[in-house]
């Protein structure tokens, strides 16, 4: 558990620093990729809603600190994004598992991504990128910042979604390697007992 938390912390820290230092300055086709958001989606899909929300909150604090922005602003949006993605992973995994092997709900709660389809990370990134942009725009608007709706919702959103989708496959593979699924260990134990 502690090793898992350390790995998540390390992933979030590295992704947040890479995002604010490198990726945020890359304007490609009018939008920039969001490594942090994609990493957060992968973590939340693999570890569930609570870890997703906590990771989002920590990532937001890091970004706001590094950018000297209003503290809590990015945390709010990213923790909701992590929570929603985690729930998506849990519920999708549970439905699929029920259909396949009628697994218990308790198992579903701790192993959200075992039965996720290959499309799930892409779908989650697609939806979360769009919602994240809208939520960030709304928050900045409420706080009185000068924000162009056309830039956020038309010009930059589609390229951002495209770049994030392109990032999803490699990032999800890396995160999945760093955070292996807990089910695999359980299954191995079961095999040993039977043997």
């Amino acid at each position: 558990m502690a090793a898992d938390a350390a790995k998540v912390t390390l992933l979030v820290f590295a992704a947040a620093l890479a995002q604010v230092t490198v990726f945020a300055s890359m304007a490609l086709l009018g939008g920039s990729p969001d490594l942090l958001l994609v990493t957060l989606v992968a973590i939340a899909l693999l570890r569930g809603a609570i870890t997703g929300a906590a990771a989002g909150f920590a990532a937001g604090l890091l970004v706001d600190t590094a950018n000297l922005e209003t503290l809590g602003l990015t945390s709010l949006v990213l923790s909701v994004a992590g929570y929603w993605t985690g729930r998506y992973g849990e519920t999708s995994g549970r439905v699929a598992r029920r259909a396949n092997e009628r697994g218990s709900q308790a198992l579903a709660a701790v192993q959200p991504s075992r039965n996720l389809g290959a499309h799930a990370p892409l779908m989650a990134v697609l939806v979360v990128t769009a919602l994240y942009s809208v939520a960030a725009y709304a928050l900045h608007f409420v706080l009185g910042d000068h924000v162009s709706a056309r830039l956020v919702l038309l010009d930059a959103l589609l390229p951002a979604i495209l770049w994030n989708l392109l990032l999803t496959v490699p990032v999800y593979a890396v995160v999945r390697r760093v955070l292996p699924l807990p089910m695999a260990a359980d299954r191995a134990r079961e095999v040993n007992l039977v043997a």
């Binding site: 620093l17 890479a18 995002q19 604010v20 230092t21 490198v22 945020a24 300055s25 304007a27 009018g30 939008g31 920039s32 969001d34 942090l36 809603a49 609570i50 929300a53 906590a54 989002g56 909150f57 937001g60 890091l62 970004v63 706001d64 600190t65 590094a66 950018n67 000297l68 922005e69 209003t70 503290l71 809590g72 602003l73 990015t74 945390s75 709010l76 923790s79 909701v80 929570y83 709900q105 308790a106 709660a109 942009s133 960030a136 725009y137 900045h140 706080l143 910042d145 000068h146 924000v147 162009s148 056309r150 830039l151 956020v152 010009d155 930059a156 951002a160």
Partner: protein, 309 residues
Amino acid sequence: VPRDRTVRLAVLGSSVQRPHPQKLSARTGPALRRRIVMGCLVLLSLVLITAYFREPADGGLHAAQGAGASALRPFQVGIERVVRPFRDAWGWFDGLLEAKADNERLVEELTALRQELAQNKAASQQNAHLRQQLGIDAPPRFDLVPAVILSHAAKQFEQEVVVSVGSDDGVEVNDPVVTAKGLVGRVVHVTSGTARVTLLTDESTYVSAEDADTGAKGLVGAGRAGSGSLVLDMVDKRFEVADGDTVVTSGSRRGEEPSLYPRGIPIGEVSSVGRSDTEIYMQIQVRPFVDFGSLDAVTVLASKERNGG
């Protein structure tokens, strides 16, 4: 139909084991925990936003943020150093494509600039002489504080960067920020070791500027959102502004008051001029000299007078 109690009893009174309903704790425990954690995080975020907004710039949260930013600085500088060769290589290949056309244009410009230089030297001497005669104060002198870009705003609509110098280096809020090519923006927030700079392309930034060729004065602000271009606004139609004219800071706000930006910092060149009968002012598009998308190092102009220089 007569009641058959025996049959009823046989069914109701039997010791058939009914499935027990699932315990509430198993079903609601994780869900409840999840909601509590999420609620706490949202609440904490809202408290942070409110407290940060309400406290003064030297408050506890701002100080903690400054300390955090200083702690993150070595990591960011490290990443920047690792990435710079790749960024430079990308810039080199990108620039190579335009190099030939640029070369021809630059040779022409060099010839013209040499002639201007000779004229400007004479004008500069004359200017100093006349200022002395009229008793006008010398323009403020600045300490040049070099800085690297530590981070870029998380969202594209935030045209801001964080630089690696702060109040410990003599930097203060409203100090102009430049590169060798021209004006970048101004400092809006300072910690001991870092400073946040709002770029010229931000919609909240306006700079008093003038056309260096015609003397037409106006305000430079952000152009169409996301385009990276600028607009020179409030310019009277009587001026003959033309494509290719150089736009520089005017050093004063509407004539008298000194601007935050010293006079003569290049901003960009006029890329198009529009005139319509219905508009009071001209619509002038300006192509900035600074490439805001590939900023990696800047210079902050810190006032020498303020710093006791």
